[in-house]
């Protein structure tokens, strides 16, 4: 990044033409640092506080754990108490992917596509043994051995399938994690 700028030697207003998503940080970086030191920590805490009570999972079902995910949205377990609404249709408004079970070779590119289309910040929960390591299907020819290879996972929820209580605990762990995270 820095090498590019020194080679092209921008002068005057033509600098603006050189600014793109890659090197914009170099110019506004210092100002950003100052701003962040002044209001970053309290602002980030406020941002994170807002985010952790409104986690919206995207509606993508990948395997049989979706049954327990459905039960967790039901009246007995009711994840809405923790600000997590039941699976939501539009991925542009979502910030959580709950990977509900086995990822096959056909589903993996679609899951990654869904993740890429979601706006930042976004979090991932790997639900079930299959999403963590492949589980029962570790030796199947069509199943990925866990989703670590395609998505950055925040919380692992073990079980085959995990009980709704376990999923809720996983969500609460994620909230705890967001609370301590540096604001993005």
């Amino acid at each position: 990044m820095v090498n590019d700028i020194t080679v092209s030697k921008p002068k005057g207003l033509s600098v603006i033409n050189q600014i793109n998503s890659n090197n914009a940080n170099v110019f506004v970086g210092k100002l950003g640092d100052v701003l962040y030191k002044a209001v970053g920590t309290p602002l980030g805490m406020a941002l994170n506080w807002g985010r952790l009570w409104s986690l919206w999972p995207v509606h993508i079902e990948t395997a049989c754990c979706s049954v327990e995910f459905g039960a967790a949205s039901g009246p007995r377990y009711d994840v809405e108490r923790f600000g997590i609404i039941e699976a939501f249709g539009s991925l542009r408004q979502c910030d959580l992917v709950v990977v509900q079970g086995t990822i096959t070779r056909k589903m993996a590119p679609r899951l990654r596509l869904v993740y890429d289309q979601m706006p930042e910040p976004k979090y991932v929960i790997a639900m079930g043994a299959c999403a963590i390591t492949g589980g029962l299907y570790f030796d199947s020819y069509n199943v990925l051995p866990g989703i670590d290879g395609i998505l950055p996972v925040d919380v692992y929820v073990p079980g085959c399938p995990p009980r709704p209580e376990t999923l809720i605990q996983g969500c609460m762990l994620l909230q705890e994690k967001i609370k301590r995270m540096k604001a993005r």
Partner: protein
């Protein structure tokens, strides 16, 4: 200018009228599958279901596990109907090994299978409700379902993945006060599902959305090879529990509900009527069940079968579910083919959706009693 194409290939004509839509796998009106739909205005002109997103190779995996270690992964295709998917497998292995199941185990199996059928139908009904935008119908069945899950948890020790049926009986006997608790819960459950008529089945909005949409005639239902609720909603009285009774179904008092209309409304009503029959079966089985006795035949560690082929089928929550087992005298099956009802009902989907309005798509699609994970195996 267009590039010269090799002979035999031609560019697809772009038509301004026809639009292609991908319904799924990330779509509020689809599960773990995709339907490629072409619409002309508001009408569907072409439907192409694209299953296989959860193909996990169950049949291949069964070939390198022995008959007992096959049990857990074989129930994963439908974890909320896990007793019914293990039923034909256990019946087949019992025939292969020549096992005689104790009388009490037969009754307990029937009770577990019928409880599980209700659990399956309740989940299906909840999703049907949310597909039609009826949130109350998501909450009520999901809540009432937990009652039966509690019962099954008492019986088997697990919430949804029971692994309760084993070749030669069931895994454990039920706890001492199970009969009373089961009777009480089932009676309450029956009272609850009667109320669904007021909120869902007699609801004019539901009737206007599902009546006369996706009509499947009796002839087409037979010709396309549909099973279960789809077949019975079209006026064909075909229930494996009646036609080829297994275990103790021939001694129990029940009917299989049939409707003549063949539209989405009839298809959504048949499973609901099925739940009343399931309650009847459970009450009858509790009455006729021997009060004590063994529940399981002891097996050798790695049982081997002879050189035979066995096909057994049962009536699951979705229809006839068969298992075809080829044995070559080894502890593992040589080939295991699962014949699933979901895939049979999927075949009717292009037939029903083509010519419908796009808005009717969820109502027709989920009324087919189709669970994508099972169809993909």
């Amino acid at each position: 200018m267009s590039a010269k194409l090799p002979p035999g290939l031609q560019l697809e004509k772009v038509d301004d009228r026809i639009m292609t839509l991908n319904v799924g796998p990330q779509h509020p009106g689809s599960g773990h599958m995709r339907i490629i739909i072409k619409v002309d205005g508001d009408y569907i002109v072409h439907t192409d279901p694209d299953p296989g997103y959860v193909h996990r190779g169950e049949e291949k995996m069964a070939e390198y596990r022995n008959y007992i270690t096959n049990i857990p992964h074989l129930e994963r295709p439908v974890i909320h109907d896990s007793c019914n998917i293990l039923y034909p497998y256990c019946l087949g292995i019992e025939e292969l090994l020549g096992l005689e199941v104790p009388e009490r185990a037969k009754y307990l199996r029937v009770i577990a299978a019928e409880l599980n059928r209700c659990v399956y139908i309740q989940y299906w009904l909840a999703i049907y409700g949310i597909f039609l935008g009826h949130s109350t119908m998501f909450m009520w069945p999901t809540g009432d379902r937990e009652l039966l899950i509690d019962l099954l948890e008492k019986m088997t020790g697990a919430r949804v993945t029971h692994a309760y049926f084993v070749p030669g009986g069931i895994r454990n006997d039920v706890p001492p006060n199970f009969e009373d608790v089961c009777l009480r819960q089932v009676n309450y459950f029956e009272k609850r599902i009667k109320e669904y008529a007021d909120v869902f089945y007699d609801n004019p909005i539901l009737i206007s959305r599902t009546r006369d949409t996706g009509v499947l005639s009796r002839e087409d239902a037979i010709k396309l090879g549909t099973t279960g609720s789809v077949l019975r909603a079209s006026g064909v009285d075909f229930d494996i529990r009646k036609k080829e009774p297994y275990d103790v179904y021939d001694e129990l008092d029940f009917q299989s509900p049939t409707l003549k209309e063949g539209d989405s409304y009839a298809r959504s009503k048949i499973p609901w009527l099925d739940m009343f029959e399931s309650c009847r079966i459970i009450r009858d089985a509790l009455k006729k069940m021997p009060k004590s006795g063994s529940v399981r035949v002891k097996l050798k560690p790695k049982p081997k079968g002879g050189d035979t082929e066995i096909y057994r089928r049962v009536e699951s929550g979705r229809g006839a579910l068969g298992m075809y087992i080829v044995s070559k005298g080894k502890p593992q099956p040589y080939r295991l083919k699962i014949s699933v009802p979901s895939f049979r009902n999927l075949i009717a989907m292009p037939h029903l959706l083509t010519g419908e309005k796009l808005g009717n798509m969820p109502a027709v699609y989920w009324s087919l009693n189709y669970w994508p994970v099972e169809a993909d195996r």
